[in-house]
């Protein structure tokens, strides 16, 4: 199946310039997803460089793009997020940037769902550019959190929120075990 950007708009709350996904090329509901992104030097990260060579694509944004593919996969699950919820990148381990990616290149993200807990999902996968592996993710944890709670946390006085993990992994227990 192929989903175009309009449909991705419906799955993700992200908007340009932080909507970093163009197309879903394969989706097996609740199991795995393949999605594409054409990296571009027109993105704002390149704006202040005054004609210098474009330079490598910021690796952390490549990871963000991959996480958005993961969020699309979760959004299609039965327990996926509602408009009142946000999916947030809560934790990761073993994320390797193999070779730098450059603007103009077409990245293919491949994400598998490892485990779906109540408000937390564990995913893994990789990203390739023309068969060359640029990113691999041993484990990423995506938290599904109510928007309301986030705003409340933002306005509480210092010390009140303390170390409450976004992913609520401490409560989930199993996720904590996987994270070590």
């Amino acid at each position: 199946m192929t989903t175009d950007a309009n449909q991705i708009d419906g799955l993700l709350p992200h908007r340009p310039p932080m909507l970093l996904l163009d197309e879903i090329t394969m989706l097996q509901d609740g199991v795995r997803i393949t999605a594409q992104r054409r990296l571009s030097a027109d993105e704002p990260w390149y704006a202040s460089r005054q004609g210098a060579a474009a330079g490598p694509y910021p690796p952390v944004l490549l990871l963000e793009s991959w996480c958005q593919a993961a969020a699309c996969l979760l959004a299609t699950c039965a327990t996926g997020s509602t408009p009142a919820e946000l999916m947030l990148f809560a934790a990761a381990s073993g994320v390797t940037f193999h070779t730098p990616a450059a603007p103009g290149e077409l990245v293919e993200h491949r994400v598998s769902l490892v485990r779906l807990l109540e408000e937390t999902a564990i995913v893994d996968g990789d990203a390739v550019i023309g068969g060359r592996r640029v990113l691999s993710v041993e484990q990423a944890i995506i938290a599904i959190r109510p928007k309301q709670g986030l705003v409340a946390a933002d306005t509480s006085p210092p010390g009140v929120t303390q170390e409450r993990p976004l992913a609520a992994v401490a409560a989930a227990g199993t996720a904590e075990d996987v994270l070590r």
């Binding site: 908007r15 994320v95 010390g159």
Partner: protein
């Protein structure tokens, strides 16, 4: 206002990089670049904006480029309170010429002509006889002296060339001599790093360059110094105009006594604040090792110059990350500059104010602006490069071993990062705890590898 006595420091060759003029090209002091081009016959604007790293490796071009950036920076500070509080100057090797301009010993024009002549003479000397230099990390002076002496007794040529800081000595000599010292280094728990220079600077192999420089020196008028300049050759403060012709000549073949120079600035001349003028903080990491309690500041761009001269909102008490420049990789937070608050051995505190105008907030998310967690990872990598520029500035993010995001970071937040780093498997491992005024925001552990290890 009770401002501390300040010393101006100028870096030498080796600090140059492609596009290093970018931060200055729109500032009024950029006009100095045209003047230096006129005085020296080199297209310095081309060198500072467009020349590639390979071109800038050429001795004479590297030197005129680095010198010109120092002049531009100095010009931007003319008449400011910072300059009024300067009580001494010093420069590392080539940087000594900019220090002499800052102290009014040389006019900018005379200094530029001398630097051009020196660069040409040194380049010719390297063409006559190839040479090499290597930094010995972990070496104290007595060990470096012993190693070079041992190699010299076996008939090879190598000498101590820079005494930079505790545990950092540079040797210089014939290629074979430097390699021989480098080969012995690991037995003494010393890491030898070959420096990308064409010749055996600050060694007797440079004696043929002295004649070329001597001619230019003879045609130059030296004036008495406005403030003392501490010389590389003898690490003594000089105010008399008579000392400099011979000091500059000797400097070509004599070791740079930088460690002692900084001690004289701090202990003897009472300088409490050491301010580096150059494209990046280059000599300040050495200063930190020599005088850990000193106040240090780098002026790398017009913004830093403005803040330092009191025109900005506050006087800096920390090292600020250079503005984004052509040579640096693009990043998700181009507007938010990092500041090094404190640094102690292999740990540091770095902070960043998340700029509310960062482009990414437009889409993350409409109606609910939250900093993407991945941008905090980028901040940690940048913080490491700022805290330890010598080892970590050229590295790339290779692995996120672990990252946990604990609470949202919002536009306008000040994020404080506590960093710790150590060598790991040919690269560096960097751990960081991040917090906002509301408490912990993230914990991150990264592996950073040097560019050569990229595949």
């Amino acid at each position: 206002m009770n401002d501390p006595a300040a010393a101006l420091l100028f870096p030498g060759q080796g600090v140059q990089r492609s596009g290093m003029g970018e931060p200055w090209r729109d500032s009024p002091s950029w006009q100095v670049v045209g003047e230096v081009s006129e005085w020296t016959g080199e297209d310095v604007e081309e060198l500072l904006l467009r020349a590639d790293d390979e071109t800038l490796r050429r001795t004479d071009l590297a030197q005129i480029s680095v010198f010109t950036i120092a002049l531009v920076t100095l010009e931007s500070l003319a008449g400011t309170s910072l300059i009024e509080h300067v009580t001494a100057c010093a420069g590392h090797s080539l940087g000594e010429y900019a220090a002499l301009v800052a102290a009014d010993v040389l006019t900018p024009r005379d200094a530029a002509i001398l630097v051009a002549a020196r660069g040409r003479a040194m380049r010719q000397a390297t063409q006559r006889q190839a040479g090499a230099m290597a930094a010995l990390i972990g070496a104290e002076l007595d060990v470096a002296e012993a190693l070079t002496a041992e190699v010299r007794t076996s008939g090879d040529e190598v000498w101590v060339a820079n005494i930079n800081a505790p545990g950092q000595v540079v040797v210089s000599g014939a290629v074979s001599g430097v390699r021989a010292v480098a080969a012995m280094a690991p037995q003494h728990a010393i890491k030898a790093i070959e420096l990308p220079v064409a010749g055996a600077f600050h060694s007797p192999l440079m004696s043929s360059a002295q004649d070329g420089l001597q001619e230019a020196i003879a045609a130059t008028t030296f004036a008495a110094a406005r403030v003392p300049v501490v010389a590389n050759v003898d690490a003594r403060p000089h105010v008399s105009r008579h000392a400099w012709p011979s000091l500059l000549r000797c400097q070509l073949t004599a070791p740079v006594r930088w460690d002692q120079t900084v001690r004289v600035l701090c202990d003897e001349l009472g300088c409490e604040c050491l301010v580096e003028l150059g494209p990046s903080a280059n000599v300040l990491p050495m200063v930190r090792r020599i005088a850990p309690r000193s106040k240090r500041m780098a002026i790398t761009d017009p913004g830093a110059a403005e803040r330092a001269s009191g025109q900005g909102e506050e006087r800096p008490t920390s090292i600020t990350e250079p503005e984004i420049a052509a040579g640096q990789p693009p990043r998700s937070l181009p507007r938010s500059a990092l500041r090094l608050r404190t640094r102690d051995g292999d740990s540091a505190v770095v902070e960043v104010d998340i700029d509310t105008d960062e482009a990414l907030f437009d889409g993350h998310f409409p109606g609910l602006r939250i900093l993407p967690g991945v941008s905090l990872i980028e901040c940690v990598q940048r913080a490491a490069a700022l805290a330890e520029p010598r080892d970590l500035a050229g590295t790339r993010l290779s692995v996120i071993e672990k990252a946990r995001f604990l609470s949202p970071v919002l536009p306008g937040d000040r994020v404080t990062m506590h960093l710790r780093w150590n060598t790991h498997d040919g690269g560096w491992r960097c751990s960081a705890q991040l917090a906002t005024s509301r408490g912990s925001a993230a914990r991150v552990r990264l592996l950073l590898t040097t560019a050569e290890e990229q595949r």
